[in-house]
């Protein structure tokens, strides 16, 4: 075994030299710094657990006679395999027996190991990345991990949050630590001000289109600039959520008053003197003057338009007023072949406007866009109108559902003819009974338009809640800025 002590890499910078947000969080969680021979031992403050990526990790603990090291830092919920149809006589109707067994397994594992669980029906149940911030579990400066790539969401609060595999879920359960090499950092600076009708989803789709689906590989993204500062907490979550779609394991936004106001009074946020102490520490987290990222990309936020994807990865996005790109215009043969394959799968014609493309299903929800502000944006478009296609509105958590109902949004959706469903991942991942059919087009507010993501043979167009709602009303891809105009 190589020794962890030997040949420690010289620190990249002097301790007093300016540090980025990422560097501050990283440095504060080093149980052991990395060396040439061994990765860093990185401490995890919050471990979120769900039914899909945890059963084999609990089995590994059981086989080795290990316990969960920090039950106070481990929280589980059910979201991926859970049905979003209302329970009948208190019983949830699962998509199939296997999904039900997986959820039962989580319940059993949490009971056996003593892990806090928010099961189906619990007031705090919901998509793992919706409930973490909502409960105040996710806090600035924390390290947060979960066996799910959209853990990047939590970076919106100034946490270093990233997805891990099931083996690593086991590592964190057993040791509260991970072995990690220090990633590089990429600054995405969004200048200017987003125009009216341009959402956080449009911003992140534009970022991914710009840097590419592999553009952030090996990096943690920090989102900076006035257009990012102006985003609400939930909008920042939408942006950070899709960092992984650019290949970056994590995305971060430095905490500020927006963050602190969001957290204040949340059930698991610090209280009283602890809050004051925490606040002082959180205020020191933003990057120092002069701190440098390994790379930087600048985007003019004022020039952005509502975006929609036309292809089979999240980087294949265009303005909703744009035309489907023509592969013949691509100089690079590999890029041309990829574009041709994507358009073939999607059944889209090069050069045609994407507006007016027929839609079979609309899905509003997911860890990307399943929070209350997203539902308000969708309801504002649907209010007083009727949807022309099957439209699912799926709140990201039970708390979001209750809030939406208190505001009467459920009535807006129902009166428009949309389905108002129970919280969960639903049609984003299509492993819970909510799926689209072969060849069907779905405008979805989720995060992945990969082939078959929403059901084998299904075709996904990613967009914002407003664009999705407008498309539901039109029965075709529509520009929410022009609904009713």
């Amino acid at each position: 075994m190589p020794s962890a002590e030997s040949s420690e890499r010289s620190p990249r910078r002097h301790a007093l030299s300016p540090r980025t947000l990422f560097e501050k969080v990283w440095d504060a969680h080093l149980v052991r710094p990395e060396t040439a021979e061994t990765p860093a031992v990185l401490y995890v403050d919050l471990h979120l657990v769900h039914e899909v990526t945890s059963p084999q990790a609990f089995s590994a603990l059981r086989e080795r006679g290990l316990r969960v090291r920090r039950l106070d830092r481990t929280v589980a919920t059910m979201d991926h395999s859970t049905p979003t149809s209302a329970p009948v006589d208190g019983h949830y109707r699962f998509g199939d027996a296997q999904a039900e067994a997986q959820v039962a397994k989580l319940r059993q594992n949490c009971a056996e190991f003593g892990v806090e669980l928010h099961p189906l029906g619990d007031p705090a149940q919901g998509i793992v990345h919706v409930i973490g911030p909502e409960l105040g579990l996710t806090q600035p400066g924390m390290t947060v991990v979960c066996g799910d790539s959209h853990t990047a969401t939590h970076g919106a609060l100034g946490a270093l949050a990233f997805g891990i595999g099931t083996s690593e879920v086991g590592h964190v359960l057993a040791t509260q630590c991970l072995l990690q090499r220090r990633p590089r950092t990429l600054a995405v600076r969004v200048e200017g001000k987003l125009a009216t009708g341009v959402a956080a989803k449009d911003l992140i789709l534009a970022v991914i289109a710009r840097i590419g689906v592999g553009g952030g590989t090996g990096h943690v993204i920090e989102y900076l600039g006035p257009a990012v500062r102006a985003l609400s907490m939930e909008e920042r979550m939408t942006v950070c959520n899709m960092s992984i779609e650019a290949g970056a394991r994590a995305g971060m936004v430095a905490p500020d008053d927006v963050t602190f106001q969001y957290l204040s009074g949340r059930p698991r946020a610090p209280k009283g003197r602890d809050w004051e102490r925490a606040l002082a520490a959180w205020r020191s987290l933003p990057g120092d003057e002069g701190a440098r990222h390994d790379r930087e990309v600048r985007i003019d936020g004022s020039a952005l338009e509502p975006m929609i994807t036309f292809g089979t990865n999240p980087g294949q996005a265009i303005p909703v007023t744009g035309r489907v790109p023509d592969p013949a215009r691509s100089g690079d043969p590999a890029a041309r072949a990829a574009l041709e394959a994507a358009l073939r799968y999607m059944g889209l014609e090069p050069g045609r406007p994407i507006l007016g493309q027929k839609v079979d299903v609309v899905f509003i929800g997911s860890c990307t866009n399943g929070r209350i502000e997203d539902l308000r944006a969708a309801a504002a478009v649907m209010k007083g109108r009727r949807v022309k296609v099957r439209s699912l509105v799926v709140p990201g958590s039970r708390a979001v559902k209750s809030q939406a109902e208190a505001e009467g949004l459920d009535r807006v959706f129902r009166e428009a003819g949309a389905e108002w469903r129970e919280p969960g991942c639903s049609m984003c991942i299509g492993m819970n009974g909510d799926q689209i059919g072969r060849g069907q087009y779905c405008v979805a507010t989720s995060n992945r338009n990969f082939e078959g993501r929403q059901g084998a043979g299904g075709r996904t167009l990613l967009a914002s809640p407003a664009t999705a709602a407008a498309s539901a009303v039109a029965g075709a891809v529509a520009d929410a800025r022009r609904v009713g105009a």
Binding site: A4, T38, T53, A334
Partner: protein, 190 residues
């Protein structure tokens, strides 16, 4: 885990870039609570017709792909979800190494924990491998070289610790568990 020193075998080629983990194993196969038998679901939506019969033109189904141990794939292989079911399915199918010009971060980390070797090579060698499906290659983890049958080849790099673990059949959890005192000290210092 079995120690790995050399992986030798034929390649199967999937030339597309950005092959995501939803293609490697679609989400509907993630409802399992163990790791066994996932090879049957590997690339399921590309590999089988709607009725479950194998598509003869899909590279993994061609006769020369039988017994292939090395998957050569386009750039940014394994992007998307963190599902470790992806390397589990590849390993269960008999794949021991994935060769590309870049491999997504979470997939690479997951692969290493399952004895699946992620090999990132230069674009020139990659092009040659893409053009010769079924080629026999030898991947030497001690020498850090990938060699083709004609003796030409390319170096590749891999994290020193990951290499140590693979070559000695050590799993990372064992190392982390050996850090108990340091973890105690860290927790005590906060």
């Amino acid at each position: 885990m079995e120690p790995i020193r050399v992986i030798e075998g034929r390649t199967v080629v999937l030339p597309g870039a950005n092959i995501d983990t939803d293609q490697i194993i679609p989400a509907r196969f993630l409802k399992v609570t163990d790791k066994k038998g996932l090879g049957a679901a590997l690339f399921a939506d590309w590999r089988y017709e709607k009725d479950g019969t194998p598509r003869p033109d899909f590279p993994l189904n061609r006769p020369e792909a039988k017994g292939a141990r090395v998957l050569v794939a386009g750039d940014n292989f394994g992007c998307g979800s963190s599902r470790e079911h992806a390397p589990w399915a590849l390993v269960d199918h008999g794949i021991r190494a994935v060769v590309s010009t870049s491999i997504a971060d979470i997939f690479r980390a997951n692969a290493l924990k399952n004895g699946l070797l992620p090999v990132v090579i230069d674009a020139g060698t990659h092009q040659r491998l893409l053009a010769s499906p079924g080629a026999t290659v030898r991947i030497d983890l001690a020498a850090l070289t990938l060699t083709l049958a004609d003796g030409t080849g390319a170096p590749f790099s891999i994290d020193a610790f990951a290499r140590y673990c693979l070559m000695n059949g050590v799993d990372e959890l064992g190392f982390l568990l050996s850090q108990g005192e340091a973890i105690d000290a860290y927790e005590g210092s906060r």
